[in-house]
Symmetry: C2
């Protein structure tokens, strides 16, 4: 007996096929002499309707167990459905109930639950339509990312999670330690005695794999990371997580133009892939979560991204007939409202802003000849603002050393990073994409906690 | 001008094609009126030979810069090679040197370096033949893993790295904290005041994503994790890392038979994929690192794995005409020497040992009717011993609660895990694969620190 996934049965199953399905009951509807059970196995948003005839042995007893959430195995014959809403249905010849779900205590009864409530039952929320769709789309995004890079000969590199370098200054760090917090050992000077810690020095959770990805790009030309990164920032917002996944490609022999070309092709590829492989889930988001989701995806796929410099962007913002909350002035960073004005209102499509003032960007970005701006680029998208941030890296040893010192960092801490410029240095570039921001953007989900299976946020590390 | 990767040029480049390559000089050989430069861009083990004629403008000056490690761009015409060792070579029409590498200080001169020495220059070692091959094979393994599961409809799920649960008791944990170690806040009772910590409770780095993967399998049927895991175990061996990547599939409606079938197909798929996509790298390992690498791969691919119970294995070991260092007796865990005896000497192929004594296995493994053994399985492979460990999970609430208590764990800490058995529970199973052990096995590399880009081990968190 063929055991098949429901997505595949709904797509290509034909009347008179004998098969078995296994899944969980979403709803039960009793009619005269029949019961209709909607079964879902997580392979698709849509359920398979299983029809149980009262002639089935133990009909009443089985039916009593088939409540929302119960695990069931049904064997039978596919038949054309007479009812509305489905092409085919399964006429059950036998039904086995694996695990019941007491309707008095199972929290996921058939009704609308708020996302806030569902966060408190993170171990069950994936069984709902919304979270089913989110995590199928999340998986499709991941697959699209690997496919994009692997087809182009990029190697997936695993950069370290535990790191001793605090070089990027990208915000507050989590410490990692094997010391007993109740009883931190001290040196004679009352400092922490790190010689007793696992790594014999202070270590942290990484904020980015970029510097190590550059190491690998200097050997393999094209590489990418796709792994978890961390910020101990006390931001209780709908856009911040303490633990999130990042994608960071790095390309040797590549300048900012090549970087922008790759990033644009990359975003278009992911959106195309998800629309093609998850059409049902994407329609669900467009209908139930955010009516602009499909239009935004089409906008990304079909438009050539606008490209302009930061200096041009500032001029456009100064001329804008809009009252911004934050000031616009050359040298200040763009705020979300500015980014959204450019992408949403002015260009009505994604825009890539380049060549930001050096003082508001990281030390590793390549200094332009004007000595005031760096070869940075941010991709701003309608509805969400910055989605990708990248740069051409400073490949000139003497300039990089100058920039390291200017930002108050110690060249000796970055000896290995500087070595990359000492031996066989090349122009190179890369970018970073916050994976959850992408999934949020793709699905229209309002809170970033709802696009990662187990969100980590201030005061919260459940499950 | 077509800019192409060297792997592709060596595979399919034809004489008279005009092209440009970019990479790093591996060696320079001067002849009368000519110089031969071996260029590598990381896309393959083999280099492209670039021939520079003395007629090239600035011939002497350029040649002086083209030392081992220098970054170069060469443009010219592909020609059939008259020399030995390559089918084609590039006749340079122009050569650009991006970054030099001073032969007096660049550590990677053309000679054999020990792996120990190369570990001290982890930021450069990927530029050697051995590490180039290792990380290409590592990438191929990753790709094979995603491909295997995605083709079968499994979702890649990202389970949390930071966790508040210490439930598995799988060894020593790293603490994660935002508290200042120099100044840990105290409560009135002198305990650590976790209310001031980021998550308001003690948190750790995960040792496994399994429990959370089970959550996801109860919604999507088939899922897998592929992410970093951690052990703060002070093991300074060639087989232990503090930070390593794990692959953990989890299948609903699956018993131990299905679990073993999947694991066997999975291992075979990875080996086949790597032999097909990285033949040159695999031959390199077989020649230079471990002469049994290819035979071992063929052994895995071509043999049906032996399956036997732990009880049978103990009997075979008791009868074995071998002097073991560790005792063999029902109830004791198998040691590496026992595992290797079974796979290497007795069966001469991988063996799957099942149904281990309950007291030496984790609480979540399904208890057999004998109440003494659990539905565990370990795959033992020739040369390496245990490569996969898995089990059918205990899906019966009352049995699981009993096992939790018996192992001294608190059911209230596992409330959400127990809920999976309370609502719609199903037979389910899964396994774990240590990714670096796999890469070590595949490549024959003797030390696990040499199959991950930036190893984390006691006293060492460099780069």
């Amino acid at each position: 007996m063929a055991n098949r996934r429901i997505a595949e049965i709904l797509r290509s199953g034909q009347p008179d096929e004998s098969l078995q399905v296994q899944g969980w009951v979403r709803t039960k509807r009793e009619s005269k002499g029949f019961a209709f059970i909607e079964v879902n196995d997580g392979s698709s948003l849509a359920n398979l309707q299983v029809v149980i005839n009262q002639d089935l042995p133990d009909y009443e007893a089985i039916l009593k167990k088939l409540n929302t959430g119960a695990a069931v195995e049904a064997t039978g014959l596919l038949v054309a459905s007479l009812g509305k809403g489905q092409r085919i249905e399964l006429k059950a010849e036998s039904v086995k109930v694996y695990g019941e779900a007491d309707p008095d205590t199972y929290p996921l009864q058939k009704k609308r639950h708020s996302f806030e409530f569902l966060r408190t039952i993170g171990h069950l929320r994936s069984r709902t339509n919304s979270f089913g769709a989110v995590f199928r789309v999340r998986n499709a995004c991941s697959t699209a990312i690997h496919q994009f890079f692997q087809e182009r000969g990029f190697l997936w590199v695993h950069t370290p999670i535990i790191t001793a370098s605090d070089c990027e200054g990208a915000g507050e760090l989590f410490s990692v330690t094997s010391l007993d917090l109740k009883n931190i050992p001290r040196t004679e000077n009352q400092a922490v005695d790190y010689s007793q810690d696992f790594f014999a020095k202070p270590t942290y959770l990484t904020v980015s794999g970029q510097l190590e990805a550059e190491v690998m790009a200097m050997a393999f030309s094209n590489v990418y990371t796709f792994g978890p990164t961390f910020r101990a920032e006390n931001s209780n917002t709908s856009r911040h997580l303490a633990e999130f996944w990042m994608v960071e490609p790095e390309m040797a022999f590549c300048d900012l133009e090549g970087d922008m070309d790759l990033a644009e092709a990359f975003l278009k590829h992911i959106f195309k892939y998800v629309l093609e492989t998850c059409p049902e889930d994407m329609e669900f988001f467009n209908e139930r979560i955010d009516k602009s989701v499909l239009a935004t995806a089409e906008n990304i796929i079909n438009n050539q991204f606008e490209r302009l410099t930061y200096t041009e962007a500032i001029k456009l913002l100064e001329k804008a007939d809009v009252k911004f909350e934050y000031p616009v002035s050359w040298g200040l960073d763009l705020q979300s409202e500015h980014e959204r004005y450019l992408a949403e209102q002015l260009f009505k499509k994604p825009a890539i802003v380049t060549d930001y003032p050096a003082q508001i960007k990281a030390f590793y970005m390549r200094l332009n000849d004007d000595e005031k701006t760096v070869r940075a680029m941010d991709i701003l998208a309608p509805k969400i603002g910055e989605i990708v941030g990248g740069s051409q890296r400073e490949e000139r040893l003497e300039v990089l050393e100058r920039r390291v010192l200017a930002q108050g960092l110690k060249p000796e801490d970055l000896w290995w990073y500087l070595d990359l410029r000492r031996y066989g240095t090349v122009p190179h570039a890369g970018f970073g994409l916050g994976f959850e921001r992408l999934v949020q953007f793709m699905t229209g989900m309002g809170n970033i906690r709802d696009v990662i299976p187990f969100p980590r946020t201030p005061q919260s590390a459940e499950f």
